[in-house]
């Protein structure tokens, strides 16, 4: 066998692996979307995502509410009512903190930076119990405006983003700051007029990841939201699964699919920023 044809077989093999693995990876998602258009009798007997008798029952029933207190749309509104402020607060507080660490010297900076880095590796599991007790003392449990979920983000709580922005900041030449100072900008004006425009890609990445993570967050609402009317989408999906599995899978899957549509839309509009974001901070996920 010639060197050339050997190479060709190698290439074919690589594509075959990529396509087969990719298919296995994505097929469940495609099947899931297809299943929402099937009748409950057909869902698990038909392995393809296609159906000869499409039905919108799943979607129609997905709008049912529980005891008149909550339905899917309301739950999604609830989700975004805390996700959006959380994203904004995170971007602002993390940018300011990254600016402080990235551009200034002060007493104790190295120690504080080490502390910041160590919180990256601090498992959240130790924090759930005492944080709950703390928020309980503050009277924040089941707060109408989701205080326990939102307020920490005002204080650059997700240090991972601070770290990511510091990495970004390193690539912005300091001469720009100095030029701004010479032109009479104080440090806050420099942050606003010079650093923020340059940091924009990092801020977008930060917003996107925080959007995804906090929309998917299940543990937080599970602990801190007690009133049915205020349940976010994640809890609602779990609720409808517990209530309906066994007989109404098309409804449960339709609820699930609708609940992740906003995330899918955001992801497809901003794929490159996601990939860049992960590589830039060298990240978790």
């Amino acid at each position: 066998m010639g060197e050339h044809s050997k190479k060709q077989i190698g290439t074919i093999l690589k594509y075959a692996i990529l396509i087969i693995v990719g298919f296995i990876m994505v097929y469940p998602l495609i099947w899931m979307v297809g299943a929402t258009f099937k009748t409950n009798q057909e869902i698990f007997t038909n392995m393809t995502p296609f159906t000869a008798h499409p039905s919108l029952d799943g979607y129609r029933n997905s709008m049912n509410d529980y005891g008149g207190k909550i339905n899917l749309l309301k739950a999604m509104l609830n989700t975004y009512s805390y996700v959006i402020p959380k994203v904004l607060f995170t971007v602002v507080s993390c940018t300011i903190t990254a600016y402080g660490f990235g551009r200034f010297n002060f007493v104790g900076k190295n120690v504080l930076f080490a502390v910041l880095m160590s919180t990256l590796f601090l498992p959240n599991v130790v924090m759930n119990v005492p944080q709950y007790i703390l928020y309980n003392n503050f009277g924040w449990i089941d707060s109408k405006i989701y205080l326990p979920l939102v307020i920490p983000s005002l204080f650059a709580f997700d240090t991972y983003f601070v770290f990511m922005m510091i990495q970004f900041l390193r690539n912005i030449p300091k001469e720009l700051d100095e030029a701004a100072t010479i032109d009479g900008c104080n440090s806050i004006q420099t942050l606003w007029h010079v650093i923020c425009p340059m940091l924009k890609p990092a801020m977008v990445s930060c917003a996107l990841f925080q959007f995804m993570w906090s929309s998917n967050d299940f543990m937080g609402p599970l602990l801190y939201v007690k009133t049915v009317e205020r349940y976010p989408a994640t809890i609602f999906v779990k609720l409808s699964m517990d209530a309906d599995t066994g007989f109404e899978w098309n409804r449960v899957l339709a609820v699930s699919v609708i609940s992740i549509i906003p995330q899918l839309v955001v992801f497809f509009c901003a794929q490159d920023q996601f990939i860049d974001g992960i590589s830039a901070g060298s990240v978790k996920g």
Binding site: Y15, L18, G22, M25, V26, P28, L29, W31, M32, F44, T45, M47, I96, T97, Y99, G100, F104, N105, F106, V107, K109, L112, F121, P123, V125, V126, M127, N128, V129, P130, I133, L134, P152, L154, F155, A156, T159, V162, S187, M212, S215, N216, F218, V237, K238, M241, T245, L253, S256, S259, I260, Q263, F267, Q271, F274, I278, S279, S282, K284, G285
Partner: protein
């Protein structure tokens, strides 16, 4: 005399301010750190030595009783074992898979971006409850996987009801989300200098030999990073077992975080739950520490330290 002194003092104050005013930008974070992290962190250590319960007026006992209960309770120790097994199934599988796919993608493949996106979608959505629901639909007795097996003449397995398989299915949910680890590997692979491979090819090294002697050593920093973060996450896994199996069947998927949750938020034994959280914390820390110490034997940093 006094005037001079005051002048000097305010001068040095000014100097101090000029050298340190940048600290005001980190004040926000510092306050948040003290209130939302350090205080809870330390207080949970204190609680772990008490019989504190949320709806009980006061603490009546102090001591090591929570810790001695943890190490003598069969159910808790069993769950710790399950957690280790879960982590040691999930993390190697996930990393091996991520590296394998990244390695193939690193060849000049047409449509890299398309494949990268396809592989990355599960990672971005995987944390959501919707995907946990999907997992249940796939692996239930009448689910899609069994439908496929039966189509080809097999019997099918009741995956989620069989203690032999349930934990593995929960692991598989996280392995399926290898996308972000893969993206990191891919970036690292792109950074391996091409001339190393050229030299090796001239010396007659096979592709497999090149993989183990060049590729792997060159990307050890990212392997290390992925290993530590993924281990840390695996030991805290909660959503998968909580939503899909509720810890069953016969406690086969009762990961440690599930037990902590039950103790803390079902029976409100905050003291006990804190002690359990600290045990888990120390395990994760020891494992990370081992990883950090072992670094010098297997992690290669370009500028050899």
């Amino acid at each position: 005399m006094t005037e001079k002194l005051i002048g000097k003092r305010s001068g040095s104050l000014q100097l101090f301010w000029r050298r340190n005013y940048g600290a005001m930008f980190i004040l926000l974070w510092l306050v948040g750190f003290l209130v939302f992290r350090l205080y809870p962190f330390l207080s949970s250590l204190v609680y772990s030595f008490s019989d504190f319960e949320l709806f009980k007026p006061e603490i009546t006992k102090w001591g090591f009783m929570n810790y001695s209960e943890i190490f003598s309770d069969k159910k808790i120790m069993n769950s710790l074992g399950i957690t280790f097994r879960y982590a040691f199934i999930t993390v190697p599988l996930k990393l091996a898979f991520a590296l394998f796919i990244a390695y193939i993608l690193n060849y000049k493949i047409k449509g890299v971006n398309f494949f990268r996106t396809a592989y990355y979608i599960p990672s971005i959505l995987g944390g959501s409850v919707a995907i946990a629901v999907l997992w249940k639909a796939l692996f239930r007795d009448e689910g899609l996987i069994n439908a496929v097996i039966r189509f080809f003449g097999g019997d099918g397995v009741n995956w989620l009801a069989d203690p032999k398989y349930a934990l593995f299915i929960i692991s598989l949910l996280r392995v399926w989300q290898f996308g972000s680890a893969m993206v990191l590997f891919l970036a690292a692979l792109k950074g391996v200098p091409a001339d190393l491979y050229e030299a090796a090819t001239i010396d007659g090294a096979s592709k497999i030999r090149q993989f183990w002697s060049i590729t792997v050593p060159m990307i050890t920093p990212i392997i290390f990073y992925n290993l530590v973060t993924q281990l840390c996450q695996a030991f805290q896994e909660f959503n998968g077992p909580y939503i899909i199996t509720q810890g069953g069947p016969r406690n086969a998927t009762t990961l440690f975080s599930l037990l902590i949750y039950n103790r803390a938020f079902k029976s409100y034994e905050m003291g006990m739950a804190s002690a359990m959280a600290w045990v888990l914390f120390i395990i994760v820390m020891v494992l990370s520490l081992i990883a950090f110490i072992s670094q010098k034997y297997w992690v290669y940093y370009g500028d050899e330290r």
